[in-house]
């Protein structure tokens, strides 16, 4: 009796969540995902980014990009396991992660490398840390460019295949993060493990959890 009530409660909570998710508009997602940028800007203007704001800005933009990319990868398993359906927001998540990573890349080119093309070319060709990051970013470009209804129609059965590149891109991004400092950092290791788990989930046939 007790057990039954409990599962009923959890179920009703999840029903409520599912109901609320249905009420979310796509623009809500875009606006919400702009909050990290607003916070970063306010930190920058109030001096919270410390002695070397460029470095903090560059790092935060990149890390935010990777986190949103991770959220993008969570959408399918979340929907399968819990029937909380975010799939119609997947494009918003994907495009916003690209937006942050593009800002991260621009910060690197403009504020960090300061358009020193010789060193930029040397870095993207010879320095593994940069090579991984650069390849990840390049792979995201066709994905962002085809994240629209026209491309989905036009590419047909090739569209899902093309968009599987997200797995390669996110691994490259995770490796890039791991290589950032002289030694491994816990945050980068945790991020990489989450990425691996999300990719491994794709190899299992997931089913909806009954008691949810």
């Amino acid at each position: 009796m007790y057990k039954a009530t409990k599962s009923l409660n959890i179920k009703s909570i999840f029903d409520l969540i599912r109901l609320l998710v249905r009420k979310i508009r796509i623009w809500h997602v875009y606006v919400t995902l702009l909050i990290p940028l607003l916070l970063l800007t306010s930190d920058l203007l109030s001096g919270q980014l410390g002695v070397d704001p460029m470095r903090e800005l560059e790092k935060s933009l990149g890390v935010t990009g990777i986190y949103i990319l991770i959220l993008t990868l969570c959408i399918t398993p979340l929907s399968t396991l819990t029937a909380i359906n975010f799939i119609r927001f997947r494009r918003a998540f994907g495009l916003m992660s690209f937006f942050y990573i593009a800002l991260h890349f621009s910060t690197w080119i403009l504020l960090d490398m300061q358009l020193r093309w010789y060193e930029i070319v040397e870095s993207v060709t010879k320095k593994p840390f940069i090579v991984f990051g650069m390849m990840g970013f390049l792979l995201l470009i066709p994905l962002a460019a085809t994240s629209n209804n026209y491309s989905i129609k036009r590419l047909g059965k090739y569209w899902p295949k093309l968009h599987k590149l997200i797995y390669v891109a996110i691994i490259l991004g995770g490796v890039h993060y791991l290589m950032m400092e002289k030694t491994l950092q816990n945050d980068a290791i945790t991020t990489f493990i989450i990425i691996l788990v999300l990719i491994l989930l794709r190899f299992f046939k997931l089913r909806k959890i009954n008691w949810l």
Binding site: S46, G50, V51, L111, M113, Q114, K126, T183
Partner: protein, 309 residues
């Protein structure tokens, strides 16, 4: 120690001038020439006045001191835990006067000078820092290095209770560094005991640290407790951790490729403009061989610098 620094303050550029960097620049050539001739090593005098000297706030809030954390702001947060008095220093190996000396005893004997050096980190950034301290050669002459000795090795304090990262294995603790004897004896090689005429802040390596301005920053070992003269090449912690990226010599050299960061140029922390936004626009400068300290070139004559990096 405090007395020592107080005394030296009278002779060195008053602190308020340092704090007001803009003013120094505006005071122009007269003061510039005075400061350059009396305080700043000639090789760097010109360099120095192309950039402003970093503020104490910048110098104490942007540190690599992995004993206290990997992030640049970690040392400022955690280094207060370090006990720096008493500070015994073990002097051993091929020396005439081995023994354990307290830092305060050593400091009393030394001639405290002021040197403003460019600190060039292997990560591709740099800062201009007004150190106080003494020439390492003065200490080595006092302890008497035997003629068989070829190298000097240094060790940072090992005290995991106060340096929490020493409980992890990100490096093989304690941090170790070394110099060839002729590098150690070079007049540019400094043991810093202060910055801006104050005792060295803990996050900068209190109470005493090495400063070798023509080498990447990690050679300038902090919070030293052991100094030894020896025949064999000393262990260098980063070389031990990743020999492909960090050599024993680690001389600043824009032409020696590094697999992670460009060494052709450096971002000068502190920026060009005023305030927080000014610091966002740090300026890149071309990195110079030996960090611009060409005086040391004879030390490496005939050496293949790409092999002995």
């Amino acid at each position: 120690m405090r007395d020592m620094h107080k005394k030296s303050q009278d002779k060195i550029t008053p602190k308020h001038l340092f704090y007001n960097r803009r003013k120094i620049l505006k005071l122009g050539l007269a003061l510039g020439a005075y400061v350059a001739s009396s305080r700043i090593t000639p090789a760097l005098a010109k360099e120095t006045f192309d950039r402003k000297i970093n503020s104490l706030e910048e110098i104490t809030n942007y540190n690599n001191f992995y004993e206290f954390g990997i992030d640049k702001t970690d040392p400022a947060k955690h280094a207060y835990k370090l006990t720096t008095s008493p500070w015994p220093i073990e002097i051993s190996g091929l020396v005439d006067n081995p023994g354990i000396y307290d830092f305060s005893e050593i400091l009393k004997e030394m001639n405290i000078i002021q040197r403003t050096y460019n600190l060039r980190c292997v990560e591709g950034w740099s800062m201009l820092i007004p150190w106080n301290g003494f020439q390492l050669s003065e200490l080595l002459n006092k302890i008497g290095v035997k003629h068989e000795a070829k190298y000097v090795s240094f060790e940072t304090l090992y005290r995991p209770q106060e340096m929490h990262m020493q409980e992890t294995n990100i490096l093989n603790w304690p941090y170790r560094e070394g110099l060839r004897l002729d590098e150690a004896m070079h007049p540019l090689t400094l043991i810093a005991t202060g910055v801006y005429d104050q005792p060295l802040p803990k996050q900068n390596g209190a109470p005493l640290r090495l400063v070798v301005p023509w080498k990447y920053g990690f050679k300038s070992i902090k919070s030293i407790t052991k100094i030894s003269a020896q025949v064999e090449e000393p262990i260098s912690s980063w070389n031990q951790q990743n020999p492909a990226e960090y050599g024993f010599y680690s001389n600043v050299n824009p032409t020696v490729h590094h697999p992670r960061w460009s060494q052709a140029s450096e971002r000068y922390i502190g920026g060009e403009g005023e305030g927080y936004l000014g610091n966002l626009f740090t300026k890149r400068y071309d990195t110079k061989l030996y960090n611009g300290y060409g005086d040391v070139a004879p030390l490496y004559e005939g050496m293949d610098l790409s092999r002995y990096y």
